[in-house]
Symmetry: none
Subunit: 417 residues, 2 copies
């Protein structure tokens, strides 16, 4: 089954918006054994869109379109679908009912413009939108499948996951099976990871591997193709085990895991509570931990102690220590962790203090210098890190290093390399 | 001048890497008055690449290709260029000298594989690579321009900025000028915005407008094409003024502005300090405010008061009030804002409390219910909001609504719709 992805929208073409939709759809299709033959981006222009529908449907089994389904004048996709399939718009009762409920739940008044979104091409099975108002369309014609979804990422994602992928998967005839796994590492550079894995060909035995680095770590992608699903999965497990044997201490999870999610599970399983005192990350670590549903079970409070006064008043850091070593120091990191543990009555206190840039660096304390402190029932310690000169990347890197220190603490892995 | 952008690479197609190259090139071309007609992504497959070269050159003046120029087996673009233009590879002395210097400067040994990168299609003018080893190609044939660059973003960007854009701009006969502006709105749904703008054609007078919604608000993009730059800019200003006259209170900025950046500027200009007490957003609002460089000028501390104990102990919320109205209530939001203002000695206190989901909702207090409190020198108040059922989107929406309330406070705009 060959698929093409079309993204409609000037904003993508002129570089105002990154095409995250095509990436998401490409990944979901690939994971479902559907080959993505190519993808394209076209402007909000009816003539060009119609040509692209024709060109891509001619040479693919599936065409997936996003964008241009909103309620305003510049949303031309629905009109193009009607023209292309020579069909007409009909009001769909189920969709209208969804739209009405959506507006009721938000205590908003339904306008004519909104109501018009219940008009669906007659030939299409509407795909319900549980996160917005514009429905998607599923059209089957002459053995081809044509899917159309809104461009708003979270609306599209929900439709892909709950409707499109299950339906396509059900239609698939499988001749071989591809299994993919992504191991998530952090705290080790790509080249070191590569060196530690040794002879790659021997390790992979015909499977494929790719390294995808970011400020959060390196994703190791392993792709295995075998005659059956069982065979592919077994081979994948075998390779994974070999990789873990060599660099396992850096691997915090796989696939859709997040570091904060992995930590949340560890904390909840053990009935432990954590509190975080953030200086330079300004709330990012607490934000990440509370992204996990159920975070109130392990996180009771957090402090953004940006100023020295906040460090002293809220977290009982010693004023003389700040005077002597500076707010960005090993000793202050340690006291921040100790303070936040004490005031919250948590089992573990975590802290960060550093210089995120672009300004504020000095000869002895350059931009990118960070101290991370951790304090549990038995030990209170801090470590020094050196990151780069981009403020937002430094915040990400610092939050990741702090959470990774917490993970190592919980699993009894040494902090030292 | 019409251009098409081709990105070559499986990693883009299967969604492991976001296509930032196409976005960058699209933006640079647009800013240089070159129309991007469409863009596409194709796999590392010679047959498909050759077909794509033909298809796109047939209908465009310029085709810009990135990816697949590296030294390893899966980089097939150079071979495709040689085949497509029926030319041959010749060693280019200038390129070879660049490669040698690159390796010398990094104290690395030049291998045969590296040396082979000095082989350039005879028909091409090589584009020097100042950040890596693979040169780009500039090919002119039959009145068409074909440009090929490596996929490594910083290598490609340097070639675009120092060679491709200046050369294309020099060839351009300017018959008209395009100016683009993006107005950033929040707190009003796309459809309401559309309705309030009234007669769009009258408003635009031939210009184009697009709405780009997300959980943070709706971006309004206006595109104007006129004979001269001055004329286009004047018309743009005129349309912007008309839009602002109708929906100006919802517009917090334009183009690359962020809501937190706009607020930071207002706070710094007035010498005001803000403190935020976050319950349901768990640190996100403080994180956004500290993303702005120089945030220590206006933000001194922040509290993530997740538990009732934290609300009472740190922010002096009345325990009886929590008992009577619940932690998610108008009254508690008000007291949180008051408390954080008081303990930090700030000029303004901001607070949020709510139910982000997916669990924790009740009949009377459903998931998505949020109260935002704000307290300044003269007034302490709170408002009720209703968002959706996705935890992370709700955190984004809540942070945006709270920051927007702060902006309105600073500008003396009424909170009521």
């Amino acid at each position: 089954m060959k698929a093409h992805i079309i993204t409609i929208g000037d904003e993508i073409l002129i570089g105002q918006t990154l095409n995250t939709n095509a990436a998401f759809i490409g990944e979901k299709l690939t994971n479902s054994q559907i080959q993505v033959s190519a993808s394209s981006v076209v402007p909000d222009d009816e003539e060009i869109i119609l040509k692209e529908f024709k060109r891509t449907l001619d040479s693919n089994d599936v065409v997936i379109v996003t964008g241009g389904l909103g309620p305003t004048h510049d949303d031309v996709t629905r009109k193009c679908v009607v023209d292309f399939f020579q069909t007409e718009l009909v009001e769909n009762e189920e969709v209208l009912s969804d739209i009405k409920k959506f507006f009721e739940s938000r205590a908003r008044i339904l306008t004519e413009t909104n109501r018009s979104q219940a008009l669906v091409p007659k030939i299409a099975v509407p795909i319900r939108n549980r996160r917005g108002t514009a429905p998607g369309y599923w059209i089957e014609q002459k053995g081809k499948i044509f899917v159309c979804m809104p461009g708003v990422p979270h609306e599209m994602k929900n439709m892909m996951e709950t409707f499109v992928i299950p339906k396509l998967s059900g239609m698939l005839e499988r001749k071989s099976h591809i299994s993919i796994s992504n191991l998530l590492s952090t705290g080790i550079p790509e080249s070191n990871l590569f060196d530690r894995l040794g002879n790659i060909d021997e390790l992979l035995q015909g499977a494929k591997m790719a390294f995808l680095p970011s400020q959060f770590g390196v994703k190791i992608r392993i792709t295995v193709e075998c005659a059956t699903e069982e065979e592919a999965n077994n081979k994948l497990v075998e390779i994974e085990q070999k990789i873990r044997a060599k660099v396992g201490r850096y691997i915090y999870g796989k696939n859709d895991d997040t570091l904060e999610g992995v930590i949340a599970k560890l904390l909840i399983d053990r009935g432990l509570k954590i509190a975080v005192a953030e200086s330079c990350t300004g709330g990012l670590i607490n934000n990440r931990l509370t992204n996990v549903s159920g975070s109130s079970k392990f996180l009771e409070r957090g402090i953004v102690a940006y100023s020295n006064a906040a460090k002293v008043e809220l977290l009982h850091v010693d004023e003389d220590t700040i005077q002597k070593y500076g707010a960005v120091s090993m000793e202050v990191a340690r006291q921040l962790a100790e303070g936040v543990k004490a005031i919250s009555g948590s089992d573990i206190g975590l802290s960060v203090t550093g210089i995120m840039g672009p300004t504020g660096g000095t000869e002895t304390k350059p931009v990118g210098l960070v101290y991370i402190g951790i304090c549990d029932a038995t030990i209170c310690t801090a470590y020094e890190y050196h990151f780069g000169d981009d403020r937002l990347l430094n915040k990400d890197r610092t939050s990741q290093a702090a959470l990774e220190m917490l993970r190592k603490n919980l699993l009894g892995i040494s902090y030292e390399d």
